[in-house]
Symmetry: C2
Subunit: 321 residues, 2 copies
């Protein structure tokens, strides 16, 4: 017999996330009640994953649960915010208990890692679609935005880019790879690591920040545009992973780093005056970020190689089709 909504919520989602003392009333009433710490602003984001659009319909349930929260954690990380509470709007074609258990495991593990409580939500019948709303907070006036950068600020990105786009192509069999590279790259797509701790630290150094979800070149361009400046990225400095380079060669790996999606890394600008302090207090080897270029007065986002501007299409999704 199919289980009802309230039983489903009881079984899979109560206690799925972290326990937090600032949750006055969690799952089970018409709405949830929380205490926001004094001196803080509330931060809110929502992102939706649709089966067949944002992930292959046969993705592991753990990955779907992980990614549904991760994409929102990445948004809050880009604001320098501390995540706290999540709501889940889950639309399911049918109640598949094995799938639900995997989904709740993937979501719950990442939630507990970041001390996020699942405070409420809604489960409905329909095509598989997951919206997570994530709430958190940031000291008043201290949030990072996309719009605070100036020409001359140095541009960085965390981690490596392009891995997730290759991982998705592997998942969809548009690309082949040896088992080890395949496993690592798929993991980068299926279980991205939102850079929450880095985002919070960057409040002390960065002038602007954005999360890289639609391709580094386009997202760096959005940061630049919101700041009314342009961005110049150095081809040779783009951080690409060894497995990606081994698989695609350096040129295609860097192209994918620029135009692939689903990285969930942070791209951030730092004023020259803060650079020395940044490098000392957040050592790049430990915090894993790379200088990739700078912001400049001329609008647009360009990539420069050996002094020459390169031409790019932004069609990241068509690389392997």
């Amino acid at each position: 017999m199919p289980i009802g909504e309230s039983e489903l919520i009881e079984r899979y989602f109560r206690g799925c996330g972290a326990e937090r003392a600032d949750v006055v009333l969690g799952i089970g009433d018409d709405a949830a009640l929380m205490r926001v710490p004094g001196g803080c602003e509330l931060v809110a984001a929502t992102d939706t994953l649709v089966a067949g659009v944002h992930f292959p319909p046969d993705s592991p349930a753990e990955s779907v649960g992980h990614r549904a929260l991760a994409v929102n954690l990445s948004d809050l990380a880009a604001m320098g915010a501390r995540p706290a509470w999540a709501l889940l709007a889950l639309t399911l074609p049918q109640v598949d208990e094995t799938w639900l258990e995997g989904f709740a495991t993937g979501l719950g593990e990442l939630a507990r890692t970041h001390a996020v409580a699942l405070i409420g939500g809604d489960t409905t019948r329909g095509p598989l679609c997951i919206s997570v709303q994530l709430l958190g907070f940031v000291p008043a006036g201290a949030a990072l935005t996309r719009s605070g950068a100036r020409a001359g600020d140095v541009l960085f990105v965390s981690g490596t880019c392009g891995d997730a786009a290759a991982g998705l192509a592997l998942e969809q069999r548009r690309l082949q790879a040896p088992p080890e590279a395949r496993s690592w790259l798929r993991e980068r797509f299926l279980f991205p690591t939102p850079r929450v701790a880095l985002g919070e630290e960057l409040r002390r150094f960065a002038s602007a920040c954005i999360d890289v979800s639609d391709g580094l070149l386009g997202d760096a361009g959005k940061l630049a545009s919101a700041s009314h400046v342009g961005a110049e990225l150095a081809w040779n400095e783009l951080p690409v992973s060894d497995p990606l380079t081994a698989l695609l060669g350096e040129r295609r790996a860097r192209e994918l780093a620029l135009t692939g999606g689903d990285d969930y890394e942070l791209c951030f600008a730092v004023p020259p005056a803060n650079i020395a302090r940044l490098l000392m207090q957040l050592p790049p080897q430990e915090w894993r970020y790379t200088r990739i270029g700078a912001l400049r007065a001329a609008p647009g986002a360009v990539v420069v190689r050996d002094g020459t501007v390169m031409e790019f299409s932004h069609s990241g999704y068509q690389h392997f089709s």
Copy 2:
């Protein structure tokens, strides 16, 4: 040429809701920033509407926009909370600008009525599905919940029940009606009125509150169960509208009031000591609510007619099929 996500958001959703001074940063960055008033708890709810499940696929776009927010406003009303900020996760099969304009109009008008700012969201491609997340606040410790009632508390409901279920049946041509009744009942389904002001006032009087979305009998039962008591409703006191009674006759109208869905009225319990003050300070004729029964020690929710307990199935959706 189809418009892109950011243009779509610019055109239809920026400035769609109310402007609020407590929104530090609205639509357009990775997340939104808001100031929560001191001494308040944050209140959060989310509800999803799926085409073909929660509304007929050919529903007017204005109605879909209105209802997507109304169902969440009703959740906050049930907590006695003041709504403030909404996020919209909108999944669309294609960009239909006429539909989007209607949707934004319906959502925006209701948002402005309740001073709700649209602070962010996400638009994605996929089967038509709308999740709204609504945030608001309530003085710390003052929220209404489902669980505060005691045996002996008097049970009330706002407005009239069953109209929306009949309106949906008319919309789906499972039921026929003369033009005037048809028009009024359809309106009750398509454009429900969340009882936000009443919910805030009830904080001074009520011991528990729930919004009636799944049928009065079931929802009164949920309130009672959360409060560890039972509910006894008086058949003769159930508030039914004249158009509904004229269309279905008194017996079927009252049945539908008990088991139909989508009313978005408030069902609330008031301790005997507060009744006189309630009736004086919130005159029922003006605030439109009706005494429908009482809470009692014995668990369950029953309807009593002339001293006899009546039998009911809870299958509100099958009335006209």
